[in-house]
């Protein structure tokens, strides 16, 4: 047997290791150290070769050990240290809250909003650059350079300059802040007492510290953070940075707003309107307030609860409890940006008012038709309704534009660490869950498949249990065209409605309505057996409050007014423009 048949040298892919493989049942003496060295040399392996004694020792004990031996080792290169920023001041607990939203139990709220002060010319941070690691050497004698560590970027913001390429120097005396990859220094103004008639309204470009309270009736506008040692009373407050209130926000008015382009931190919020572009974090409770955040709302420490009022967050709402034992009406919604939601609800409100105005006129019309048949008066009312219907369509178009910007965060959730009480209504997006029975350790999330909100709890064995609220809107579609029925179904299901039935003609439609009493009916105006207006009248005989939308082609729109006067809520024109259909349907449900 030749030497090559008895042993071989295998090299790792990274060229840092060579293995001596010896066939099993090779007898001692069949392979010598010199055989191995010759083979290594012929392969060009010149570096990191084990000492002869070690090779000999392996060859002598092959019967006892595995038949593979590391005969040569290179020196791998190393990774250098990453760059880092060394801050020469203490960042407060807000950093912890930003990164560890799961539990605030360990966060000391008293440590939030401690104002650090730096002097003009002081080095407030230093960048330690990334380093290169040590070079390596392969078993073939090839040198490889060490790897560089990762760089880190921190831009110099307002009142900060970079010196020597690595020192961040403050240009003024003030308070340093790091946010969004930028380090800045805000001028700091300290008001030793309250903001009241002695100070008047306050406007300041930097960080404002109020050692007392902000009393009733003032406007405070701050370019940096606002730190209030006591409370905020009935005043309008706006900060470009964070708002930190060591005690509570207690404006007792829905007419003033506490708003922040950053986050709001407070011990409690009561009877107030608070808006934050970032998060709202409360140590104890939020009570009977309107709190909105484009980040998250958190009330986790102590008796952290959301009781009464309305709370809205784009990402997440986390609290120990929702509602209370007194079962106050508590509305909690996650999934929309509050600024967009505000515009949307305002427009919906205007449309609802317009819808109600049309309904009142229609009642008058019905009354006149039944009692006096005053055709002049009836004609005037029809004209008025026609005008209002046109205005309604324009507003619905505007609503459609707003709705297009109303992005729904499907991953939004509401998390209850202890109890959610009855009387609480939870929304994820537009999906609604009415809490009728208390539950513990519940989460509310959006089911993208079923297009509904569900509550997730755990039973005693640790199994997840999901329940849904049965309060979703249902729709019956009546149209002799399968294509129309399919298109409408797709549009309505995408926005979370349940289509509980379809009918090909008016007679079938009326029968299905009688059986299922859906929230809403869509009905084609022009059908062969029992046209739209007859179907509408038959449905309204079953239920005078039935919500019916007529589906019409542009050619049939003259019949629309007849249908509206006969009790239809509104109409949708074909071919369908999805956002207009959605706007019309949503408005109808508000009426």
């Amino acid at each position: 047997m030749s030497k090559d048949e008895i042993f071989s040298i295998e090299v790792s892919r990274d060229h840092f290791t060579a293995y001596l493989n010896v066939k099993p049942r090779t007898k001692n003496g069949d392979v010598s150290v010199q055989d191995v060295l010759d083979k290594l040399r012929s392969m060009g392996i010149v570096s990191g070769v084990k000492e002869n004694e070690k090779i000999q020792s392996f060859l002598d004990s092959m019967e006892l050990y595995d038949y593979q031996f590391v005969v040569a080792s290179g020196r791998p290169f190393t990774h250098g240290e990453d760059a880092k920023i060394i801050f020469n001041f203490e960042c407060d607990a807000r950093n912890t809250i930003e990164t560890e939203v799961e539990s605030l139990a360990g966060v000391d709220f008293r440590a939030i909003g401690a104002v650090v002060s730096v002097d003009e010319g002081e080095i407030i941070a230093t960048k330690a650059p990334a380093a290169q690691g040590e070079g390596g050497l392969t078993i073939f004698g090839q040198s490889l350079p060490g790897e560089w560590g990762m760089d880190i970027s921190l831009a110099a913001g307002q009142n900060v300059e970079i010196s020597d390429g690595r020192h961040y120097v403050s240009k003024i005396g003030g308070a340093p802040f790091v946010s969004g990859g930028v380090i800045r220094v805000d001028p700091v103004r300290v008001i030793e007492g309250n903001i009241d008639y002695s100070t008047g309204n306050v406007q300041f470009a930097g960080t404002l510290v109020v050692k007392g309270s902000i009393m009733d009736g003032f406007d405070v506008n701050v370019g940096g953070d606002l730190i209030v040692e006591n409370t905020i009373q009935m005043s309008n407050v706006h900060a470009m940075g964070d708002v930190i209130v060591k005690r509570g926000i207690l404006t007792r008015s829905k007419g003033v707003v506490i708003s922040s382009e950053g986050s709001v931190y407070a011990r409690f919020i009561e009877n107030s309107v608070v808006e934050a572009e970032g998060n709202v974090v409360v140590e104890t409770a939020i009570m009977n307030s309107q709190v909105s955040a484009n980040g998250s709302v958190m009330a986790l420490n102590n008796e952290g609860a959301l009781i009464g009022g309305r709370t809205l967050a784009f990402d997440r709402i986390t609290a120990r409890a929702l509602g209370s034992q007194a079962h106050p009406k508590t509305y909690v919604q996650a999934g929309f940006r509050f600024d967009v939601q505000k515009k949307y609800l305002e427009m919906m409100g205007r449309l609802t008012a317009l819808g109600n105005e049309i309904a009142v006129i229609k009642k008058d019309y019905d009354h006149i038709a039944r009692t006096s048949n005053d055709f002049d008066r009836m004609g005037a009312l029809r004209t008025k309704v026609n005008k209002l219907l046109k205005a309604q369509k324009e507003m619905q178009s505007d609503l459609g534009e707003i709705a297009a910007t109303r992005i729904f965060n499907h991953l939004a959730m509401i998390d209850v660490q202890e109890t959610v009480f009855p009387g609480t209504t939870v929304f994820i997006g537009d999906g609604k869950y009415n809490v009728r029975k208390g539950a513990r350790f519940a989460s509310f999330k959006w089911d993208s498949d079923g297009k509904e909100v569900y509550m997730s709890t755990y039973d005693d064995t640790g199994q997840e249990k999901r329940t849904t609220s049965r309060s979703g809107h249902t729709v019956l579609i009546i149209d002799d065209s399968k294509a129309v029925r399919k298109t409408l179904r797709l549009i309505l299901e995408k926005i979370g409605f349940r289509v509980i039935g379809e009918a090909e003609d008016g007679e079938e439609g009326v029968e299905r309505y009688r059986q299922s009493k859906p929230t809403l009916v869509t009905c084609d105006i022009a059908m062969v057996r029992m046209d739209g207006i007859e179907t509408l009248k038959a449905i309204r005989e079953i239920n005078p409050n039935a919500k019916v939308l007529m589906i019409s082609s542009i050619r049939d729109r003259k019949k629309v007014l007849d249908c509206v006067m006969a009790g239809a809520l509104d109409y949708i024109l074909k071919p369908f423009i999805p956002k207009k259909v959605i706007a019309t349907v949503r408005t109808s449900l508000q009426t």
């Binding site: 297009a404 294509a483 062969v528 050619r555 071919p575």
Partner: protein, 108 residues
């Protein structure tokens, strides 16, 4: 937001397929109805049925984005507005009906 933005490609395909099936069902009786249009005793009834068919074709085709078929359907619906159209109009109706049928069959 256009239909293409709102519906997925699979949904649009499904809508088109359903519409095509519906259009083909709708044009099936047109040949016989056109003949009935020429007979005095059946003209009014045939005209009403054809107007309804063209109205539905116009609407359904528009839903699926078949704009040429929709336009032809609506044109025929307007042409056939008389309860019993005169002979010269019937010829035009026949010609346009044939064009409509051909468009729908070719679309497959």
């Amino acid at each position: 937001m256009s239909r293409e933005d709102f519906f997925s490609p699979e949904e649009l395909k499904s809508l088109r397929e359903i519409t095509m099936t519906e259009l083909k069902d709708l044009i099936a009786p047109l040949g016989g109805l056109t003949k009935q249009l020429r007979r005095e005793e059946t003209a009014a009834d045939a005209a009403e049925k054809m107007r309804r068919i063209f109205h539905t074709i116009g609407g359904s085709a528009a839903l699926a984005g078949f704009s040429a078929i929709s336009a032809l359907g609506h044109k025929l619906e307007t042409l056939i507005s008389d309860t019993a159209p005169p002979p010269e109009k019937i010829a035009e109706i026949e010609k346009l009906s044939a064009a409509l049928i051909s468009k729908i069959q070719v679309k497959d």
